[in-house]
């Protein structure tokens, strides 16, 4: 089944305005691993007949990594361009699979004139379940599996979203196991604050290795995340322990799509 991914431009040409804009983000658009997460989410949206659209080639980096790196000029130029595009399409509600885009759109765009209701994809999926649009099957995809959730800093501490991803995992036929450092005490994967784009400073260990140890201690079969950067870091962390074939790193959207056989 092909994916149904309308763009805002197409919608506008047809005289329609979708309920929600799916902000794909740079990782979700270009990174091979993250593209799978994007598609998993689209499959869920399609299945639930969510009236959404993407910006496609009109989407631009939110400017998050520039802002964290101290480059406020680049950030604000990106933000203002994006706000022009978003307001041009009269966007009201945005869903995104990237906690960094989520945080920036939600918390840092309003002061520059961009006011939208912004939610993370785990919150949207939870909404769909609550509204009865998505009834998770009792499939045995994850039967007997242990899943641990790694809190993305920009979803958890930065925006106090801890429960939405967990409530989704709990709906699966699997056991949710917590790492010793979780929720408010969750350890960063090492990619935030523009670290994703540079070598780490001198130290005695990589942060993602430290975090992967936390995950290994839980004996989980799957490490779930809700952020494409965390996904990369945890996957690399597993490789340093030669565990990449034993343990999977999956986004919560992928878990749900798998459970639904999408």
């Amino acid at each position: 089944m092909g994916l149904h991914v309308p763009t805002m431009a197409e919608k506008m040409a047809a005289g329609e305005s979708p309920e929600i804009l799916f902000w794909v983000g740079c990782s979700g658009s270009f990174d091979d691993r993250a593209k799978k997460i994007t598609k998993a989410l689209v499959k869920i949206l399609n299945k639930c007949n969510v009236d959404f659209a993407v910006l496609g080639t009109e989407e631009n980096c939110t400017g998050d990594p520039a802002k964290r790196a101290g480059n406020e000029f680049t950030f604000q130029m990106q933000a203002m361009m994006n706000i022009q595009v978003l307001d041009g399409y009269e966007v009201k509600k945005i869903v995104t699979g990237c906690p960094h885009c989520f945080n920036t759109l939600k918390n840092e765009y309003p002061e520059l004139g961009g006011n939208y209701e912004v939610i993370h994809h785990t919150q949207l999926i939870q909404e769909l379940i609550n509204q009865g649009k998505l009834a998770l099957k009792d499939g045995d995809t994850f039967k007997g599996k242990k899943i641990t959730f790694h809190d993305p800093c920009y979803l958890g501490r930065a925006n106090d979203v801890y429960e939405a991803p967990r409530s989704l995992i709990e709906k699966l036929d699997a056991e949710l196991v917590e790492m010793k450092r979780c929720k408010t005490k969750g350890l960063c994967c090492g990619a935030g604050g523009a670290q994703m784009f540079k070598e780490a400073e001198k130290g005695n260990k990589e942060i993602n290795v430290e975090r992967t140890e936390d995950a290994l201690e839980t004996k989980a079969n799957i490490i779930a995340t809700g952020c494409p950067f965390c996904n990369t870091m945890m996957t690399d962390g597993l490789k340093s322990f030669n565990k990449e074939n034993e343990i999977e790193v999956l986004d919560v959207a992928e878990l749900i799509a798998k459970a639904e056989d999408l």
Binding site: C26, F30, P65, R68, A158, L187, F197, E201, K202, E210
Partner: protein, 445 residues
């Protein structure tokens, strides 16, 4: 009469010195940049009551929280007794002036203080051994060498002396009272009835000469009040300042989501100008326009007053550093050190101004002389330090302000990050992908 004169002198010098120090710290803090935190008074008050008064965030680590609560409780309740000591000090022949009017409640109050003082004593001893015998990493990091370590121990020793003075005073008075020799009015049955000193007094001081007992009682009384003023004078030079500053610091907390970094208005104006096709880039600035500030922070005075208040409020507990992913993995960054460096630097700038005049420049700056670029670039902006701080100190905003200066004023940043910014500006993504390929994922297998 001599004792009243001595007490008055101690009182004036003690409060005067404290007042002068607080004035200096206040003016140091207001050297910082403007930031509006005058909104949401109700929510701010609530935050202060929960986090400073109620110590809510301390209880994420219950054992130190209980020990800390013992010292905090004893300290707070002892203030009531202190009022009596102040009055007794000024009124001729007054001794336990509240006792006749308060009666049984007085006995209850002093007993309560005594019990809390015992808890505080136990807590102080445990804290001292924790700091010096147990090798708890956060108390033994590089930035704690020298004065900070001594400071932490001194406060606990002072606390122990203070408690010893209280029991010397009450214990000796108890024995005198039993012999009908106390200066307290309304001498009644056998004992003053304070829970601890009614048995500790006889245990320690029974059989001593009345003159010795009176001296001991006075040593306890004077020792107590001298320690109180010593403490007050010492505060300004110590991490212990948090006992006062925790309150304004939590009141003026950031109430927004932690992920939101401040917007730089100065940049907004420039960007709007750039994006406005009708703007004249060579136009003279409008009449009365303020001279543009430097972008970001190079020195402590470029930080907001709240960051400076943060730095004076920090009690160097190191919870921030012990939760910092960069620090945990051996990087140079320690959020606690960021706070300590900021405080040391703003104090130095303030002292220089008072000594050498307002225009004095010592050629040093927070960035470079106190905080290095390597520390700044190790931060993942994960907010663990902000989350952990028991009094809502925000080391991250200092790190970001210093990064802003490095990047926007000096273009000093890791080359990969410069490349990332170029990519964002040229292709709308931090990597080198063509913007026209952005929707390719839709049709890929």
């Amino acid at each position: 009469m001599i004792s009243i004169a001595l007490f008055a002198l101690l009182f004036l010098v003690g409060w005067g010195f404290f007042g002068w120090n607080m004035y200096k710290i206040r003016s140091n803090i207001f050297m910082g940049r403007k930031l509006d935190r005058s909104d949401n008074k109700g929510e701010r008050f609530k935050t202060m009551m929960l986090i400073a008064f109620g110590q809510k965030k301390m209880f994420t680590r219950p054992i130190p929280a209980l020990l800390h609560l013992a010292i905090y409780g004893a300290f707070t309740i002892t203030q009531i007794e202190l009022i009596e000591i102040f009055i007794d000090g000024f009124v001729p022949h007054a001794h336990r002036i509240f006792r006749p009017s308060l009666g049984g409640f007085y006995t209850f109050l002093i007993s309560f203080i005594e019990i809390l003082s015992v808890f505080a004593l136990i807590a102080s001893i445990i804290f001292l051994s924790r700091r010096n015998l147990l090798k708890i990493p956060r108390f033994n990091m590089k930035e704690m060498n020298g004065w900070p370590k001594l400071d932490g121990n001194m406060i606990l020793f002072m606390e122990i002396i203070l408690v010893a003075c209280i029991f010397t005073m009450n214990g000796a008075d108890e024995v005198l009272y039993r012999e009908g020799l106390s200066h307290a009015k309304d001498l009644g049955d056998g004992s003053m009835g304070f829970t601890i000193s009614s048995f500790l007094g006889p245990l320690l001081f029974d059989g001593l000469e009345p003159a010795t007992l009176h001296s001991l009682e006075r040593i306890g009384w004077w020792g107590h009040i001298i320690m109180v003023f010593a403490f007050l004078s010492y505060l300004a030079y110590s991490k212990h300042l948090h006992i006062i500053f925790a309150f304004p610091n939590t009141y003026y907390s950031n109430l927004e989501k932690k992920g939101r970094l401040t917007n730089m208005e100065s940049v907004t104006n420039e960007v709007k100008l750039m994006m406005d096709p009708t703007a004249d880039p060579y136009a003279a600035p409008p009449e009365g326009a303020v001279e543009p500030q430097r972008f970001g922070a190079k020195d402590a005075t470029d930080l907001t007053w709240k960051s400076l208040l943060d730095s004076y409020s920090c009690t160097e507990c190191g919870r921030c550093t012990s939760s910092c992913p960069a620090n945990i993995t051996g990087k140079l960054l320690s959020p606690r050190k960021i706070m300590m460096s900021t405080r040391d630097r703003i104090t130095e700038i303030g002292d220089n101004k008072r000594k050498h005049g307002n225009d004095y420049d010592d050629g040093k700056s927070l960035l470079g002389d106190y905080i290095t670029e390597e520390e700044l670039w190790a931060c993942t902006s994960c907010n663990a330090c902000v989350q952990e701080c028991p009094i809502n100190i925000d080391p991250l905003s200092i790190i970001v302000d210093l990064r802003r200066y490095l990047v926007m004023e000096e273009s000093k940043l890791p080359t990969e990050l410069a490349g990332m910014a170029t990519n964002i500006e040229n292709n709308g993504a931090p990597w080198q992908f063509s913007p026209t390929d952005r929707l390719n994922w839709k049709d890929e297998e």
